[in-house]
């Protein structure tokens, strides 16, 4: 919402300066976005008179002017404007002046061998209008040598406020003045338009025809003014409209725009000669169209409120008039409309048809019903004063609603909700100045809400009114009492797990990424998602259309972007949500990581100490296990199986399970087909840990760690090598060896896997190091041999392998 300082002062009697006004606006909740004085940029331009105008010796279209700038000798200026002539009084810019409309700082020029010491400016060059047919032509009595901006009344700061949607009353300058007056910045001027008597009945009849459907127009006022002389509006009116970025059209249209911004009351004018028959306010019908004043064609239906005559649609009610019945310079008889519309319907229609206007902006927020008829009177007064004519009586159909909102308001609410002490008298004065009626002499009052404040519904709203006028800065800062003296644990199990997963992965050299929650349909399909209920109805692009079923595609694409920037060996992870359904429990938390190229644990790339190899499923497995371990899972209890989802390489992937059904993690290399579909050509190893699947740890009563049991006896190590089928899982061998004699076997380490010469083609040799820890006494050679026999027997039985001799 824009307005100028002088416009504000039309409604506010004040001695406050601009600074104080701007500060107060912000502090009462009308936040000032900008203050611009259009005179500032034109400070240097002076009024000057052309003494003589000669034809340029070397150019037919140019003239050489002698210009009196009011500072001594005339100045020579070369000028191409067709209206440049001796005697013209215009606006002069000297060398060094900045001309905003052409973004140029003037210098002494030489145009076809004639020197030019400045410029006579057009309105467009000074950003006053689009006029560029000639240079500015001022009245002969304009004072030569004076600053043009002052003479033209441009020294009028333009204030722009960011209006919150709850304040329709401040879509007019008058409402803004009311707030400032309430804040003690001066007195609000009465300025209520006086009724004007019509001399004949309005000949155009209006009918509201909504049948059985909900009426969309509570009231409609119409007045004809005959014999108006339409044309450009007066300079002051044009200047105000230009200042707030509106284009002056003609007197009648400019008056409606002016009142829209002056009082927040949108109006419409029809050229009566173009209206055929009665005006009917009704719902549109499918198939009907209207070319509106923005020259665009709109199709309507029964959800759109329209105004029609015998010719068809004439207006999108409350939003924009039709081009066919609009007023132009030939308009003589004008119909002035002031009506009320259903705010929800206006908002809905505007959104559906994609049409915005100053009228829609106000009607959807709620205009003051009580100003419907005064609005028509104010317009009539301006039309008569500026364009002449004879007014009809006002034809009113429907009934202007008289909303009556009375709020029971104990003044103690102010202290309760804000913590601010306000004297009852002060509270009452503030409310009265804002237009509320306050009755009751105690501290328990009744407050009637004015018709222009549809946003006020209850006590809390009144508290806000008082707080914002008194000033939020007056509210004393009050410490929030501590509920307990030492802070308590506040994180949930899930939050703690995510934090641990993040830091565990970063410690392993992965960088944390945050990628979009939505991915492309193709990617969602590849990773088990893509269901219709998780596809956005209005995605921002096809790359961001479906809620992600997995974090892998986002990380793969992120790694590809880095590869495209010549950073191919990246290790990334994300801890975030994936979506299995649109229900609350369909959202799950995962920790997912990706290693690409040679980004192994020790670091990527070539190094004098040894080059890194391409990442493999084992890198991903190690990452997944460390996340689980960091979270507190006993990874020795996990089972590894080969049933990773279809997007993994079938032979180079696995799952980590607790029990037969509860999958805690998957890891591996991606399926070559998936890589092809994602257009990635590089080794990629990924893992996903399902954080929500990890069971809650059992609550222990005590924090003690249990007794530490260290044997003092020396441990003994024995190596074994077994020949196994190549397809045999080494895990089975390790478990069998460990289980051979649990009382003394401390650990089993696989230290060599060999396939090749000396070993049959379908076999592999697996060597293990078994640590035997005596507990109570040193073992004899015979006892150790007996344990070895048990190990061999157990392994051979479980794996079908043989000890390699």
């Amino acid at each position: 919402m824009k307005f100028t300082l002088s416009w504000l002062k039309d409604h506010l009697e004040t001695s406050a300066d601009l600074d104080e006004i701007v500060k107060t606006l912000t502090m009462v909740g009308l936040e000032v976005d900008s203050v611009v004085n259009p005179a500032e940029k034109l400070r240097t331009f002076k009024i000057a008179k052309v003494i003589s105008a000669q034809k340029h010796p070397n150019a037919d279209r140019l003239k050489v002017l002698a210009v009196d700038t009011g500072t001594g000798d005339p100045v020579q200026v070369v000028c191409g404007a067709p209206n440049a002539r001796a005697g013209l009084v215009g606006v002069f810019g000297k060398p060094g002046d900045y001309v905003p409309g052409i973004d140029l700082t003037l210098s002494v020029g030489n145009i076809r061998d004639v020197e030019s010491f400045g410029m006579m400016c057009s309105e467009r060059e000074l950003e006053l209008s689009d006029e560029h047919d000639g240079i500015i032509d001022l009245p002969e009595d304009a004072p030569v040598g004076e600053t043009y901006a002052d003479y033209a009344g441009l020294n009028d700061p333009i204030i722009e406020i960011g209006l919150t949607p709850n304040r329709p009353d401040c879509t007019g300058v008058y409402g803004i003045a009311r707030d400032l007056a309430a804040a003690g910045l001066g007195e609000l001027k009465e300025n209520r338009p006086e009724p004007i008597d019509g001399t004949f009945p309005c000949p155009t009849k209006v009918r509201l025809e909504f049948g059985d459907t909900a009426p969309l127009c509570p009231a409609f006022g119409l007045r004809l003014v005959r014999g108006v002389k339409n044309g450009p509006s007066p300079k002051w009116l044009q200047q105000r409209l230009i200042a707030i970025d509106l284009r002056p059209i003609n007197l009648l249209v400019d008056i409606t725009n002016y009142i829209t911004f002056d009082r927040g009351r949108p109006l419409h004018v029809f050229d009566a000669a173009k209206v055929q028959g009665d005006l009917v306010v009704r719902r549109g019908q499918t198939g009907e169209t209207l070319v509106a004043l923005d020259d665009k064609e709109y199709s309507v239906d029964e959800d759109v409120c329209v105004i029609a005559d015998d010719n068809g649609l004439e207006s999108l009610a409350g939003i924009m008039g039709g081009a066919a019945s609009g007023c132009d310079e030939n308009t003589v008889d004008v119909l002035i409309e002031s009506a009320l519309w259903d705010p929800l319907n206006i908002a809905h229609t505007g959104r559906r048809l994609g049409v915005g206007s100053d009228a829609r902006y106000r009607f959807e927020r709620g205009v003051d019903p009580a100003f419907m008829l005064p609005g028509i009177e104010q317009a009539t007064k301006m039309v008569l004063e500026l364009g002449g004519g004879t007014p009809s009586e006002i034809s009113l159909v429907g009934k202007v609603p008289e909303p009556e909102m009375i709020i029971h308001f104990p003044l103690s609410e102010i202290k309760r909700l804000v913590g601010l002490e306000v004297y009852p008298t002060e509270a009452k004065v503030i409310l009265s100045r804002l237009g509320f009626w306050v009755s009751g002499s105690t501290e328990d009052v009744k407050v009637a809400v004015p018709t222009w404040r549809p946003d006020i519904h209850g006590k809390a709203d009144l508290v806000e009114e008082i707080m914002r006028i008194v000033g939020v800065d007056k509210v004393p800062v009050t410490p929030l009492p501590r509920e307990q003296h030492i802070g308590q644990k506040v994180l949930t199990q899930g939050q703690i797990r995510r934090n641990k997963a993040r830091r565990a992965l970063a410690v392993r050299g992965l960088d944390e990424a945050v990628t979009w929650s939505f991915i492309s349909k193709i990617q969602a399909d590849l990773f088990g998602g893509g269901s219709a209920e998780l596809a956005l109805a209005n995605p921002i692009s096809t790359d961001m259309s479906d809620m992600r079923p997995s974090l892998i595609p986002g990380l793969v694409m992120a790694s590809q972007r880095n590869a495209d920037r010549a950073h191919a060996d990246v290790a990334l992870f994300e801890v975030g949500q994936v979506f299995a359904s649109d229900e609350t429990d369909g959202q799950q938390m995962l920790a997912t990581g990706l290693r690409r190229g040679t980004a192994v644990l020790t670091g990527p790339g070539r190094h004098w100490s040894g080059n890194s190899e391409d990442v493999s499923a084992f890198d991903a497995k190690a990452d997944a296990l460390s996340v689980l371990e960091a979270i507190g899972v006993n990874v020795n209890n996990l089972q590894v199986s080969r049933d990773a989802p279809a997007w993994f390489h079938p032979g180079r992937s696995g799952t980590l399970k607790l029990g037969p059904k509860n999958t805690l993690a998957v890891f591996g290399e991606l399926h070559p087909k998936v890589l092809r579909d994602l257009q990635v050509k590089s080794a990629i190893a990924v893992f996903e840990v399902f954080l929500d699947a990890i069971p809650e740890p059992r609550r222990k009563g005590s924090r003690t760690r249990g007794v530490l049991n260290i044997a003092d006896l020396m441990s003994v190590r024995r190596d074994f090598a077994f020949l196994l089928d190549r397809s045999m899982d080494v895990d089975k061998l390790v478990k069998a060896a460990k289980g051979a004699d649990k009382s003394v076997i401390d650990s089993v380490t696989v230290f060599d896997i060999y396939e090749g010469a000396g070993v049959a083609e379908d076999k592999k040799s697996v060597a293990i190091d078994v640590v035997i820890q005596p507990r109570t006494k040193t073992l004899t050679d015979e006892e150790i041999d007996a344990i070895s026999v048990k190990v061999i027997a157990a392994v051979e039985k479980v794996t079908g392998g043989q000890l390699r001799k």
Partner: protein, 360 residues
């Protein structure tokens, strides 16, 4: 006597002449070994007269002791020489670069670190951390938060919707973390003190808007908390978060459907080129919206607004990170550019705490 002297000189010369341990050992064997010259002389003692023995005994013993010592000294010197020689060959180029190791490479995303910072601050003030799901119903995202049906305030939220279901309802991506306010009040009896960090979504994209971003919401509900407390909490938060001793703050009345009265908070700052400095200067920067929870929201959450009251605030986590750490472009937060992550990310061992400082 002179024989002994001569022998001693002879042995000493041989010890000095020995250039390695084996040569020295030969000297030792030749002098005091079983058949060494000194040992041989000592064997003659038995045949000597008592008087002779009285003189020769100590003389020979003294000789043996001195020879032994001299050999030990020489041995030590030779060992040192040998070590020096070996060390002279054992030189590596210590200027060669080493791999720094994974814990120095990995970085946490600034959003995670800032959430941890917020947690540290608000946990100290007794706030718990609540969360909710990203996919919400129209009721929790709008209706329960007092957004009237069809009101322009709904439109300002640029909502992402899911397809309409057969019953006409449709889910949406939450446009703010505020729905969790309602869930929290429904699930828990006051007093309530929570902050609610999370992902939020709006279909909007330019330099300062991304279709996904992060918000943190604060909610306090009890029977006494008012705007004075809200001002204190936000003042303490801003000072602690931005790690400045003093901060200029300006509360402005504003409008949000779910709070009444509503305010926006500006903090004092200065703009120097592309850099924003918090805690100095005369410019204002809007950082968050806040207010007293609207009576309608309390009512819809099952609380009596004449009994319970409290405040809520909401602020962009990404925006807080940008202001504190100086990232110029929001879009880069979600690009996973490794160069950006290494530059703006945080080391995994830098855990923000109040006792050790939010940033070290």
């Amino acid at each position: 006597m002179s024989d002994i002297e001569t022998l001693e000189n002879e042995i000493s010369a041989a010890i000095d002449a020995a250039t390695n341990e084996s040569a020295l050992d030969e000297v030792r064997v030749g002098a005091i070994g079983k058949k060494g010259k000194v040992s041989e002389l000592m064997k003659t003692l038995g045949k000597m007269s008592p008087d002779e023995r009285k003189v020769m005994g100590p003389a020979l013993n003294g000789l043996k002791t001195r020879v032994n010592e001299a050999i030990l000294v020489r041995k030590d010197a030779l060992e040192n020489q040998a070590l020096e020689a070996r060390l002279a060959t054992e030189i590596i180029d210590v200027t060669l670069p080493v791999r720094s190791g994974p814990s120095n490479e990995g970085r946490l995303h600034p959003v995670s670190q800032v959430v941890d910072e917020l947690t540290a601050i608000f946990a100290d003030m007794g706030f718990a951390i609540a969360e909710g799901s990203d996919i919400e119903t129209d009721y929790y995202n709008f209706t329960a938060l007092n957004f009237p049906e069809g009101h322009p305030a709904r439109e300002m939220h640029d909502t992402f919707f899911f397809p309409e279901k057969p019953d006409g309802s449709r889910k949406l991506l939450r446009t703010h973390t505020s729905p969790v306010q309602v869930h929290t009040m429904e699930a828990q009896e006051p007093p309530i003190r929570v902050i609610i960090p999370g992902r939020t979504y709006r279909c909007d994209s330019d330099q300062t808007h991304t279709p996904m971003f992060h918000q943190v919401e604060g909610l306090v509900i009890d029977k006494t908390t008012h705007i004075g407390h809200l001002k204190w909490v936000l003042e303490e938060f801003c000072k602690t978060f931005f790690e400045v001793d003093d901060i200029h703050m300006r509360f402005r009345p504003s409008f949000f459907p779910f709070t009444e009265p509503s305010m926006e908070l500006d903090i004092g700052c200065s703009f120097k080129g592309n850099e924003i400095r918090i805690g100095e200067g005369d410019d204002w920067l809007e950082i968050l919206g806040c207010g007293m929870v609207h009576p309608n929201v309390l009512r819809m959450s099952g609380l009596d607004p004449d009994v319970y009251q409290g405040f809520a605030f909401g602020v962009g986590i990404d925006r807080l990170a940008m202001l504190k750490y100086g990232m110029p472009d929001l879009r880069a937060f979600f690009d996973a550019d490794i160069r950006w992550l290494k530059h703006y990310g945080f080391r995994p061992l830098d855990l923000p705490t109040l006792f050790g400082g939010l940033t070290s």
